[in-house]
């Protein structure tokens, strides 16, 4: 039975990716219903980032397909993503080091600009309106995230936690229908993780979120559904309590995972 297109924003159907002899993803199936925060966990090297790259159009799966709002995405390229209504963050920061924070976030708002090549070359037509629109939207998100004071700083001059937040702001400013977050809590202090959980919960009210994270507590706290990957295979999927109770998950991941989180 095909999934109800209204219910599922994103459906990943039987996706497999091989790197040489290594099966990074093996027949993976994940659904992200609209208006939920879905979690994707698994030990290092389980294939989480690879799955994001497939959804982003950076990698073509060897088999399987990606369905977006009931429509199969064929040969979509990374720069089509924003227009579809999908935004992502990266496992690294991937900020534009030479651009001030405000401009970093303005780039995220590019999908709202209407002017074409002529307006960009001449500065005429829609250019002024586009720039104002992008600036206002970027400023609004910076204020919502409590980092408006950093607007004119270069990202490299900010503490890591703030840089992470800028990267999140750059994705959120696009007002995507689906937000892909790749380890947003990595390298962040324990205090900030609480604030991040609250923030992600709030974002989940406006957009679908697919959260990849190592911090199991964070995932358990904010996600309504969790999928567990191990060696490229889905070993468990369900609500947090079910995943926590699953003996296979505990063996493959949770036991060692919580130790790792404590070490960090």
């Amino acid at each position: 039975m095909p999934p109800d297109p209204v219910d599922h924003l994103l459906s990943v159907h039987g996706v497999s990716v091989r790197f040489g002899g290594l099966a990074a993803l093996d027949d993976v199936r994940i659904d992200v219903p609209a208006g939920t925060v879905a979690g994707l966990i698994g030990p290092n090297g389980a294939g989480k980032t690879t799955l994001f790259n497939v959804v982003s159009g950076l990698l073509r799966p060897d088999s399987g397909r990606i369905e977006w709002k009931g429509r199969t995405l064929r040969r979509h390229r990374p720069h089509d993503l924003a227009g579809l209504g999908i935004a992502r963050t990266f496992q690294g920061l991937n900020l534009f080091g030479g651009l001030p924070v405000l401009d970093n976030v303005m780039v995220g708002a590019e999908r709202f600009a209407r002017g074409g090549a002529v307006s960009m070359l001449t500065g005429l037509g829609a250019h002024g309106r586009d720039e104002r629109l992008m600036r206002d939207r970027a400023m609004a998100v910076l204020e919502e995230f409590g980092i408006a004071g950093t607007a004119r700083s270069l990202p490299g001059t900010l503490p890591f936690g703030l840089q992470k937040r800028v990267a999140l702001a750059r994705a959120v400013v696009a007002e995507p229908e689906l937000l892909l977050l790749d380890e947003p809590a990595a390298g962040i202090s324990a205090d900030d993780i609480g604030a991040l959980a609250e923030l992600i919960g709030r974002l989940g009210e406006r957009m679908g979120v697919l959260l990849v994270e190592h911090h199991v507590d964070l995932v358990m706290q904010v996600c309504e559904r969790i999928t567990v990957l191990d060696f490229g295979r889905v070993i468990c999927a369900g609500p947090p309590e079910a995943v926590r109770a699953d003996p296979g998950v505990a063996e493959a991941y949770l036991g060692t995972g919580e130790e790792a989180a404590d070490d960090a």
Binding site: H79, D103, V107, I147, A148
Partner: protein, 360 residues
């Protein structure tokens, strides 16, 4: 590593959002569209250049004109290298294309006015930029440098390869018109030509500055700093790189056209690899991070050569020394500047201007 909570308490004092709201004339000025502001600045610069030309002799007028087209070529390179992060070692090739386009147009279609020739030059250079930029958009670092290097070395040999069309090693010579008859009594040919060159240069710089400070410039820098993240935001990475290449090719072509128009010749020996490398060196000297760097770079390119020649004559050095002194001098100054100020002359000027502003 304390970071503020996502939703700050209502009574929390936060720094003002972004730039403080300016007041008075500055506020009104900042609401004027970018391109209009740049046009006003360009008009002021043109007036200054015209005054300079009116006050000086023919030799210096020609040098001022040479500064003009050098600035344009370097400014194009600044957008390519500084903003889009693509290093070209072969931008002399686009000057070659521009100079030969104008030469052929003047010789084959003498009825066309200068401005039509320049527009055609822009179109031809843009086409060349699409071809080269499209072919090299997937190349990085040394591979891109190598490909553009090959272009700079290979293209001028076309003149020798097709002597009937391009005049062989001697190139093409042609005559260009001076001031229109009504002005001929008061404006010398050199003055008219220098004014025409600077008019062209400032118009092109207006476009460059508007692009650089606007949406396209931001997209170029985003692609330069992180192509993956730029693509994720919806920016077509390849097309943005090609756009930067085309813009800078147009500037190179226009600069070459201006040079040909001033000198009345287009010869392969004017567009050697040394020219391409000098343009790059001048950009580094002036400052890679801003279009203003091109101004210092262009002035240095022209006047260091003049001063070096003067010095060589004053010391009655031999011709072999005289010929090589400018490049040695330029090399030395470049090393000093890069060691002292990696952000070039413009970096020092900007800091000085900032200090003056704070002191007031």
């Amino acid at each position: 590593m304390a970071s503020p909570a996502p939703r700050p308490a209502a009574d929390e004092v936060r720094p003002p959002a972004g730039p403080p709201a300016p007041v008075g004339t500055r506020a009104r000025w900042s609401t004027v569209p970018l391109v209009v502001r740049h046009l006003v600045l360009a008009a002021g610069a043109l007036a200054a250049v015209l005054l300079l030309i009116a006050a000086t002799d023919t030799v210096n007028t020609m040098r001022i004109a040479a500064v003009g087209y050098s600035v344009l070529a370097i400014a194009g390179l600044q957008v390519l290298i500084g903003a889009s992060g693509q290093v070209s070692l072969g931008h002399g090739a686009f000057m070659f294309i521009g100079a030969y386009t104008v030469a052929l147009l003047v010789i084959r279609l003498p009825m066309l006015p200068l401005w039509v020739n320049l527009l055609i030059t822009v179109a031809v250079s843009a086409a060349a930029g699409v071809v080269v930029g499209g072919a090299t958009a997937r190349l990085h670092g040394p591979y891109l440098a190598g490909a553009t290097l090959a272009l700079a070395v290979g293209l001028p040999s076309l003149a020798v390869r097709f002597p009937e069309l391009l005049g062989g090693g001697n190139g093409l010579a042609f005559t260009t018109r001076g001031a229109p008859p009504a002005l001929a009594a008061t404006v010398s040919t050199a003055q008219w030509q220098a004014a025409a060159v600077w008019f062209t240069v400032l118009l092109a710089l207006t476009v460059l500055a508007t692009v650089s400070r606007g949406r396209l410039g931001r997209r170029m820098r985003a692609v330069r700093d992180d192509p993956l993240a730029a693509a994720a935001a919806g920016i077509p990475v390849g097309r943005t790189k090609v756009a930067a290449f085309v813009l800078s090719a147009c500037c190179g072509g226009l600069a070459g056209a201006c040079q040909g128009y001033l000198l009345g010749t287009a010869t392969p020996s004017s567009f050697t690899l040394a020219l391409s490398l000098s343009l790059l060196a001048a950009l580094v000297f002036g400052g890679m991070g801003s279009l203003w760097g091109a101004l210092w770079g262009g002035a240095a390119l022209v006047y260091l050569e003049v001063w070096a020649e003067d010095a060589a004559h004053a010391l009655s050095l031999g011709t072999s020394v005289t010929n090589n002194l400018p490049i040695v001098l330029f090399g030395l100054i470049l090393i000093v500047v890069v060691l002292l100020r990696p952000d070039g002359v413009h970096g020092a000027v900007r800091d000085a201007a900032g200090a003056v502003r704070r002191a007031r």
